[in-house]
């Protein structure tokens, strides 16, 4: 969990950039796709409506031509006196009948030839019960008997001045041989007497009628021809043929009234674009019904578009992922390095790499780090120098009390007449002062230091008596080794003045020997000792000052710090002590020749 959070923390930039890019890509592609599809749908609908208006016009003109041929034929029929005679006169003998049937046959054949372009039959019936049909009523096999009270006849005679287009099929007329047929019918009217003397029928099979528009139709682009009562006479959709459709009639009337090129309506439970035109002379509506879903489905393959867009988006996301990953990775690495550097490795430089910006940043950071290290180094140097100076200053100061006490003791010796002893003491003091003040070098040989120690101990013995014995055990090969000036004296001083507060007498031992490549000096006493629990964490006694010391201010800790400062980590002071057992101070120094 923590790791995950860390990852997120370091990759925060990448995550943000990536999310923003992905969201942008997605929204751009969604909006573009949606707009494209939408626009193309709209353009398509407009184009479609224009072309289909033309199509409807074309159908209309086809049907007008057909209608005109029918009108001409029926007019010829009506203007023919012999046909009127045939349909009105009584039965003559066989011969005259044969003649008139023959003549009528010729006339009707001539009239029919005007309709040759269409697969239309001609059927005339007269008030005298005679009828004449071409090609054995092959289109509309209806018998004369059935025709008499057929709804088509009834309607034709009811409105004798009008040319009717009506629909008939097996179920409408009850004759199973009748295929869906459209019958144009007209009453034959004697205009002078205003008397109906017959009727003429022009049946055409629905499948032939369909040819007026069939070539314009396709799946989802349907045409229906509907009469003024909403009965669909013909359609390329076979299930519509012969069906009354008040719904479609209403829509068709809407289109007609609105003068819109098309309307979009819910029809047959589908969203449809409907174009319509009305032909008043035929009382027929030509309705073009376009299934929006199918028509547009043909235009835009939504699945393919979606798939393409998805592929592109996926590719773009992968590219964005890789690029932003590369962009941010170097930055992230830099950030990570910087973070660890500030915690642990101040002297390590960050790796320079990645993009230009990152490289510059890393270089700047490295330069800054370098300067910082430089500065810190210099600061350390300065501090070291300062401490050295401080120590040296301290080392060179001699406690005035020590001087005063020693000189006072010498005065007593002189007054008591022990000149010898006084001279010795003065000599020791001189030698001591000479070594500590006169000698300018920082280190002195152990043998010289031993001289100093002896002088110091001598003076102390002179002043305080020799109840505390001092012994030296120095390995001869160490005599030439150099030690920092006055480094051992403070420990002996400590032993003299603090080691024997309760005990009245004891011994102090100074030992020096080589141990590997270091020099170990040891100051041990069998005095009071102290509890190590009073010591601080480094094992050294807490700093104490006493004006009875020879050199003021130089505590054990100072010495330890100084050795470390001068020679490094492996060197320094260790103290071991127990109450009543005495104290053991070990000074470890490098071998300096």
């Amino acid at each position: 969990m923590q790791r995950l959070f860390d990852r997120f923390k370091y990759n925060g930039l990448f995550v943000k950039i990536f999310i923003i890019m992905v969201v942008s890509i997605l929204s751009v592609s969604v909006i573009t796709t949606w707009t494209t599809i939408n626009t193309s749908e709209r353009v398509f609908l407009q184009t479609f409506s224009i072309t289909n208006s033309k199509v409807v016009e074309q159908i209309k003109s086809n049907m007008d031509a057909f209608n005109y041929a029918i009108v001409l034929a029926s007019n010829n029929m009506m203007s023919s006196g012999s046909i009127r005679g045939f349909l009105t006169e009584g039965d003559g003998d066989s011969l005259s009948r044969a003649r008139i049937y023959y003549n009528i046959g010729q006339q009707i054949k001539r009239i029919h030839s005007g309709l040759d372009a269409y697969d239309v039959n001609v059927l005339v019936t007269g008030v005298n019960g005679r009828s004449f049909a071409t090609t054995d009523r092959s289109v509309w096999p209806i018998t004369d008997n059935a025709l008499g009270d057929h709804p088509i006849t009834v309607r034709t005679l009811a409105e004798p001045r009008k040319l009717h287009y009506q629909y008939d099929d097996a179920s409408t007329s009850g004759n199973k041989d009748i295929a869906p047929t459209i019958v144009a019918s007209r009453a034959l009217l004697d205009r002078t007497e205003n008397r109906v003397y017959g009727a003429v029928y022009f049946p055409i099979r629905e499948r032939e009628f369909k040819r007026f528009y069939e070539t314009f139709t396709s799946r989802g682009n349907d045409v229906a021809v509907m009469n003024g009562e909403g009965m669909i006479l013909s359609s390329n959709r076979s299930e519509w043929i012969g069906q009354p459709s008040p719904e479609l009639l209403r829509v068709a009337k809407n289109v007609e009234e609105s003068t819109l090129p098309y309307v979009e309506e819910e029809f047959m439970e589908k969203s449809q674009v409907i174009l319509s035109t009305y032909m008043p002379s035929l009382d027929l509506y030509i309705v073009n019904v376009i299934d929006k879903e199918i028509a547009i489905g043909q235009l835009t393959d939504t699945d393919a578009i979606l798939l393409t867009v998805m592929l592109i988006v996926a590719a773009a996301v992968i590219i964005v992922f890789i690029i932003s990953r590369r962009l941010t990775k170097s930055l992230t690495r830099l950030v990570k390095q910087i973070a660890t550097i500030s915690k642990y490795e101040f002297d390590h430089e960050v790796t320079v790499g990645g993009s230009y910006e990152t490289r510059q940043l890393a270089q700047a950071f490295n330069a800054m780090l370098g300067e910082l290290q430089d500065y810190v180094k210099r600061l350390l140097e300065t501090q070291k120098g300062q401490r050295n100076a401080e120590l040296e200053a301290l080392q060179q100061q001699i406690n005035p009390h020590f001087l005063y006490n020693t000189l006072a003791s010498v005065k007593f010796m002189v007054q008591q007449g022990s000149k010898e002893k006084a001279a010795e003491t003065i000599n020791a003091l001189i030698s001591l002062l000479q070594n500590s003040i006169g000698n300018v070098s920082a280190t002195i040989s152990l043998s010289q230091e031993l001289v100093n120690l002896r002088n110091y101990v001598f003076i102390n013995h002179v002043r305080y008596g020799d109840r505390i014995k001092m012994s030296y055990f120095v390995s001869p090969d160490c005599m030439g080794c150099h030690v920092p000036k006055l480094i051992i004296q403070p420990f002996i001083e400590n032993a003299f003045f603090h080691g024997f507060n309760r005990k009245n007498e004891g011994n102090i031992y100074f030992m020096a020997a080589k141990e590997g490549d270091s020099l170990v000096c040891e100051v041990a006493d069998n005095g009071d000792g102290f509890d190590m629990r009073d010591a601080d964490e480094s094992g050294l006694p807490a700093r104490r000052t006493s004006n009875r010391q020879l050199f003021a201010g130089i505590g054990v800790r100072n010495v330890h710090d100084r050795i470390k400062l001068l020679y490094g980590e492996p060197y320094g002071i260790t103290i071991d002590s127990a109450p009543g057992e005495g104290t053991k101070v070990k000074i470890r120094l490098p071998l300096l020749e």
Partner: protein, 436 residues
Amino acid sequence: MKKMLGLLLACSLVLGACGTNNNADTGTEGGNNAGGEGGKASKITIWAWDPNFNIKAMNIAKEVYATENPDVEVEVIENAQADIIQKLNTGLSSGTTKGLPNIVLIEDYRAQSFLQAYPDMFHPLTGSFKPEEFAEYKLGPTSSNGQNYGLPFDSGVTGLYVRTDYLEQAGYTAQDMQDITWDQYIEIGKAVKEKTGKDMLSLDPNDLGIIRVMAQSAGSWYLKEDGKTADLAGNAAVKEAFETYKKMMDANIVKIHSDWSQFVANYNSGAAASVPTGNWFTPSITAAADQAGKWAIVPLPKLTNNSASVHASNLGGSSWYVLNVDGKETAADFLGKTFGSNVDMYQKLVTDIGAIGTYKPASEGEAYKAANEFFGGQNIVQDFAKWTAEIPNVNYGMHTYAIEDILVVEMQNYLNGKDIDAVLADAQKQADSQIK
């Protein structure tokens, strides 16, 4: 970087859109290509006319064939005969067989005009059936250059359907009608008209079928033996047929009809007393169930003054032809296994439709021997079969209907008083100039 991405995205969208447009286009093209190409061996199409007769017969054949060959789809399409002729002529003369059926029904009168005009467009059926098993008179019209092209279907053998009840009212019986001449027929007709007020027969002035029937009964035809030369002037049989026709008109015993529907209606309504016509008229007669037992079928009258004339002739009749299109082998197999050899199927044709074929072995079947109760127990199939054997064989040639069109006009002239020899001479002249 972002710009580039954007460009890439836009390009891909455009490309994608183009891609889908292409898809849509190919989709519609595919739709247009569907249909057509009906010539696969797994499907054969058949064109015929007359749903009550030819179509029904073909549907029976289709069922029979389907029991043995269920994987072959047979589609029977009804078209008017005129349409079939028009479509065949259009298709065959343009040399393209696209949209044409595998099997087509052609009237025997027209067969030669197709076979000779488009010799390569028909698939020979020689070997698909045994010609000797079919009525001989059918083989001439259906063959060309020694090859059998048509599989003979219905017999056009004629008989005289008579209303026995009207005859009885006029003092005749069906027995009196056996083996009479046309003159005798007219006399009886006059009596019937007098007694019952009904016309003896119904004719269409635009269709000279009865002239053809009379001519063939005397072994004569509109054309000479070669099938190409008109044989009108001086053709005794045609001349007597014309005279007989006029006699009928003059005797005022003819009811006139203008089409098939009226023709049938005239008999079903009882308006006419007899029908000299092909046996295929039987279903139309029996359609009027109320006239059961009132009809008989007697031999066709013969020409009074022509010694060659017999009491048998032919009217109509057609045969099945296989077009030279893909699937012709399947089509030939179909015909050979049904109309070409299946005796049982012919029994079914007789029982279900009343269609009498010209397949001789079929007459041995039960259905051919059954009595017909509608015709008062007369064994009409046997009778027709008997007359079939007597039909004189003539060559219908290539121009039967072209000459008939001329004769229809000349007949009117004749009826209007023109001399018969002049009528036929004029017709001969016109025919000579038209058909050469």
